[in-house]
Amino acid sequence: MAFSPYIDAFTDYLRTGDTRGMNDYCVDATQLKRLAVYRNGFYKGCIDALAANFPVCEKSLGREYFNQLARLYVDHYPPEIGTLVGYGEYFPYFIRDLLEVLEQQESMRLSASLVDLARLDYAWLTSLMSADATQTLTAEKITWLVEHGEDFTQAQVTLSASVDLLRVNAGTLNQWLGFKTNSPDVEPLVLLPEGHMNLSELSQADSAPAVDTVMFWRLNDAVQARLLSVPEVALMRALQDVGVLEKAFAAALALDPSFDVSEVFSACLQNEILDIDLTKYNYKN
């Protein structure tokens, strides 16, 4: 018996459920239906991983309906690498495309906010698993730069790897946090370190413009979430694009001359969201 044709037939079975190709390889054809153990295991592994990676999506849909969606996703985008840790990268967009089809068919109704809830789930996961910062910009480093005659506002800085900015429909973060924080089986989101918005403030965002910008970042191993004001968005985008503090401050001040640069900057330091490479300054801790 040749090996590759066996793998091809088995693969075909796992993808389609058609056992016919496996006839030649099973000792007892009456046992063919036992192959279902392997196919069920494949789907279960993938669907469980999606439920773990999209917990709010799962809660908002209910497990049964979520499983149907997830199974469809597995058919279209099965995992490609040998871990399920970050599985579901395309899940939010899969839901979006599905929504478009369903809207035309009007056979099922899915909430449009589901796409954003899925995007928030995945952004949270991405922030949680991102690389640990090794070059965090701290007040101590700024003091050192100033003492060594450097203008820190001109230094090149980057947003830490755990920072993720995403635009969602107004109010979705609030909805997402509601699901997330009510769930006893997921890690609690730390909402209230000093300077962060609390839930009641977040709820005011419902009456704000139609699009919110959410920032996720990780502090002390817990993912933080915050809605950004318009000048804060400009500041963060400038940091992402140019990475020079002075330019980022200017971008924020251009939108709001009363923007409190020093307050926001010290919040950035406290929350460890900025990185700086001090190699060229011969910095020694």
Binding site: T11, Y25, V27
Partner: protein, 313 residues
């Protein structure tokens, strides 16, 4: 549950020469139990946790950073750990193994696990990872493919590994039985074997093989670890098809088969696997203690066998 009838081998078993011989009974690490684990008394104050160790599914730690790795660091600070891969696909599709191996290697470099293991199965083909342990036919072609995969994996991580026997649910056309297949794979690749007693029990019930005869075909020097776990009947076929669920306590028949295996293989690291339907940590620790007791009993029996041999001489 029906008992497995076994004839114990009375000769004193040779000790394994593989790494990890100092390990006692261990537990699969579930991060849900992290706080309970970190609250355990230190090994030097409570002998019961002296030889405790934890096994992790390596691929769950394929992350760049964050709390998951930090949790593993906190475990590693206090206990030996073992890396057990489930996604290496040693049996097929070796072209796409490189990146996978690099990630395993990076984790090994940091955490220095006592044991590294994988499965004698395939899980990837045609660009898809099937997220489960798919069976290999026991043919010469498949054997060579497995040997190549083990070889590539071992060379990539720079360490010897153990490969685990699968749970079998039906018979595929084969040219040899499973012990012969695994032993030959180990001989050709230089790897060791991880004998999963629950998998063997399921294979014996699902496909009618003789578990005791199977074990007697495994040379003791190849064995480096033993797994035990719980299983459940198939929802449709019931007891006619037992599923390796890791969602129930270890079955009585599996405990008995473990004791028999220990009479053959001597002291081995024994791992209690539980991945679903998690009970409170204390319950898992009780199962782990039961496994530790089996090891102690095995040690006593080996010691008294040595004593009586000494008297005869």
């Amino acid at each position: 549950m029906e008992q497995v009838r076994l004839k114990a081998n009375v000769s004193s078993p040779q000790q394994s020469r593989l790494a990890g011989a100092q390990l006692g009974a261990g537990l699969g690490l579930k991060l849900e139990h992290l706080d309970d684990i970190l609250a355990l008394p230190r090994a030097d104050t409570l002998p019961a946790v002296e030889s405790l160790w934890f096994e992790v599914h390596t691929e769950n730690y394929f992350v760049a950073g964050g709390p998951r790795l930090n949790a593993l660091r906190s475990i590693r600070d206090n206990y030996d750990v073992s890396f057990h891969g489930v996604g290496g696909s040693l049996g097929y599709d070796h072209q796409s193994m490189h990146e996978h191996i690099q990630q395993v290697k990076a984790l090994i470099n940091e955490f220095q696990p006592v044991l590294v293991s994988e499965h004698a199965v395939w899980s990837r083909s045609g660009g898809t990872y099937f997220a489960d342990l798919m069976p290999l036919p026991r043919t010469q072609d498949a054997l060579q493919s497995l040997v190549d995969g083990v070889d590539r994996f071992q060379s990539g991580i720079g360490r010897r590994i153990l490969i685990e026997n699968p749970s079998n649910y039906l018979d595929f056309t084969s040219e040899m039985d499973e012990p012969a297949f695994l032993v030959e794979a180990a001989r050709r690749s230089g790897c060791g074997l991880l004998i999963d007693i629950n998998n063997l029990y399921l294979s014996s019930k699902n496909t009618g093989i003789d578990a005791a005869q199977y074990l007697s075909q495994i040379p003791v020097e190849l064995v480096g670890e033993i797994h035990i776990a719980g299983h459940d009947p198939d929802p449709e076929l019931g007891q006619a098809l037992l599923i390796d669920s890791h969602a129930s306590p270890v079955d009585l028949a599996v405990w008995e088969l473990l004791q028999y295996a220990l009479t053959l293989f001597g002291h081995q690291p024994v791992l209690v696997e539980r991945d679903a339907n998690l009970p409170p940590f204390a319950e898992l620790m009780n199962e782990r203690q039961q496994a530790q007791d089996c090891l102690e009993q095995c040690r006593h029996e080996a010691a008294s066998a040595n004593v009586s041999l000494g008297e005869i001489r």
